[in-house]
Symmetry: C2
Subunit: 464 residues, 2 copies
Amino acid sequence: MEYFERIKINRILLKDEIPVDSEIILLGWARTVRVSKNVAFIEINDGSCSGNLQAVISNPDQFPSLKNILTGAAIRIKGKLIASPAKGQKYELAVTELDLLGPADETYPLQKKRHSFEFLRDIAHLRMRTNTFGAVNRIRSKIAYAVHKFFQERGFYYLHTPMITTSDAEGAGEVFRVTTFDLKNIPAKEGKIDYNEDFFGVEAFLTVSGQLEAEIGALALGDVYTFGPTFRSENSNTSRHASEFWMIEPEMAFCDLAGNARIATEFIKYLFKYALDECADEMDFFNKWIDKTAIETLEFVIKSEFEHITYTEAIKILEASKEPFEFPVAWGSDIQTEHERYLAEKKFNKPVIITDYPKKIKAFYMRVNDDGKTVGAMDLLVPKIGEIIGGSQREERFDVLKAHMEEKGMDISLYDWYFDLRKYGSAPHSGFGLGFDRLLMYITGMSNIRDTSPFPRVPRWAKF
Amino acid sequence: MEYFERIKINRILLKDEIPVDSEIILLGWARTVRVSKNVAFIEINDGSCSGNLQAVISNPDQFPSLKNILTGAAIRIKGKLIASPAKGQKYELAVTELDLLGPADETYPLQKKRHSFEFLRDIAHLRMRTNTFGAVNRIRSKIAYAVHKFFQERGFYYLHTPMITTSDAEGAGEVFRVTTFDLKNIPAKEGKIDYNEDFFGVEAFLTVSGQLEAEIGALALGDVYTFGPTFRSENSNTSRHASEFWMIEPEMAFCDLAGNARIATEFIKYLFKYALDECADEMDFFNKWIDKTAIETLEFVIKSEFEHITYTEAIKILEASKEPFEFPVAWGSDIQTEHERYLAEKKFNKPVIITDYPKKIKAFYMRVNDDGKTVGAMDLLVPKIGEIIGGSQREERFDVLKAHMEEKGMDISLYDWYFDLRKYGSAPHSGFGLGFDRLLMYITGMSNIRDTSPFPRVPRWAKF
């Protein structure tokens, strides 16, 4: 074990924990190697942060392994940490031992040059070694932790809702089937597929949302949240759609739409502040190389007092705007991204929470308002992308829920247990959903969801 | 929003944060209601902790809603927190306002009596409201958070490995298929199923492990961990098998088997200590009602210095033991649970880490030892159940990996990217896996995995 007792580079460069003159071991990968007769330099990166540490070899002749160390090689270096005389770096390592652990030859795809994101997607098993994807995946981890911190500190319980399900929360039908049938020999009975013979004895699918099960949790534990994978089999090849993505879905008992909006606002500001405070290394990187407004965007949201308007008010504003929208604006139609961006960017120049959408365009579980025409839905819009959070107060009234579902033509016999929640100790409750991979696009400025997810799944792509 | 501005009961009973004489609002569910002419008592539980708070109504006539409040009803109570004169409780609430939010009638399945776990499994949408399943799901949440805390505090990055995959990490074949094919009309080409027509353009399955992808992460970011759902289509109806379960899989670059064992030991002790320190309410409940040795078991593991032996030594001990084992003991056979329990309970009376198993009975990715016969595998056994953690040092040598996979008859052409990790900057690396639902069985003393998972999936069961 001693051989591998290393100091991680983030402790040196970011946390400044290691005093000059310490004898230390570094373990990582060579980013660049420059050898001349009297001196050699190796930039080593160990994945702990964006920065490399420069290792200096003052007597290259003494290190025969040096000639086999090319870009990408895994190496072990022992040496003394010294103040660097070079510009732009505080420390360097004066090397006393150098071992090649795993070579990389000239065919290594990540030679020192810029690579397109398209190219890197094909080699997602190596791209995490680049500056960009190292930073993306580090910040992904830290923001995931911030999600847990936020809810745990507020007394929410983390609930693992099922991946394999027989309920379809959205009623959208864009689901993947899960089966152990031999596809060449599917059992049938009276001319129909006999799902009784399948693994679960019924048709089973991958979940599109944990919300319905989160409602079970909220009406028992009070405040819960989910944070897990969800799936859509939508055949969309856009930069914002993935077939598998992680969703965060808090659900709060005894909480109305105003409370829901308040928690969503606190949550988004908390995450953005966490990104700025705890992920400064990554945010500096994104701000420099990916999106020059990345930091400013988060700061702007944090300091904004969010605007609250109803859908009906939003429609009036859009109608009065005279903007050349592609999609028509009319009460009863969905608000499109272009409309959302107009509201958040031009009209209010801050995040906007729109509430009380028409019942017809929203899901069955949303609480019907007294006007009978709108429901307690809520979308949180931010500049640059529009909707980032969608939520609602849920219908807690048995009869109203039943009538609404029948109106939508749903088979209510499939929702026995969901009705039980309204039959026994029903209570006002609310929640919202935030797509984690899209949230990361917003924070990092990365423009394709295939690049914020480490192993994206999209139509015709499930490699690794 | 003001109407719902409540104090959660755990702040009163567990954290002692609310001073006597405070005017507060409680929101929760009536557990028991006792009404007499001059006084009424309602035990209210809000899901934040095991305990109920007793609400006292000294003038029942003034509260007409009282007669409609039965066990299970959702209620809102306003009142003054007072020191309780009754035995066994520190506080009670002197009620000034009482609202029925959602009634529950006599058909409510959770009337005040003991219910069998079998009965409660059928109503998993209500069982979280019971003392036992409330405690299980609260501790599940807290231990999940402890998992993140442990790794994040040690500089590990959380990696979301894919659910839908085309790799099969275990080579066991017990996988669920994921498809959007219309099962009545599966496209064929030249007599074979044409997977090119399926959603991903290839055969796709649910993952059995995130390990292979975690190796990608470790060889880029250094130390990573996964914590997500995994799936097995094994047709096992035991108390320890589920078809969907959450797994924790850390993977460390520059880490050998000894380092792996050290981290596994630290991890398990950390989680158990967290259960005792941060989940005292739940642990007291389990220790009283579920398993009278629950707390003692965790304390025992925490204070033990784990025994380290090789598989070969373990076989010798088992052969010499003269125990009447059901399964024969012989070098080359798997060590069964009965053997593991003998070692951890009778022979050593402490947790045992067994290393260096025969190559033939272990997975292709494990590092081949110099003897050519064994691999750098590691199992951590604990008293009562046997193996709780399984891990290994991974094979980092290209040629050895290739030979090993060919020996096992695997199609190495499917593992291009996995070989690339050995071709470019390969490094010693190790990791292990811990099934989260089974870990919770161990911590809580609950004897069936269907009861530590909120929505268990097992053969012929995928409800909710």
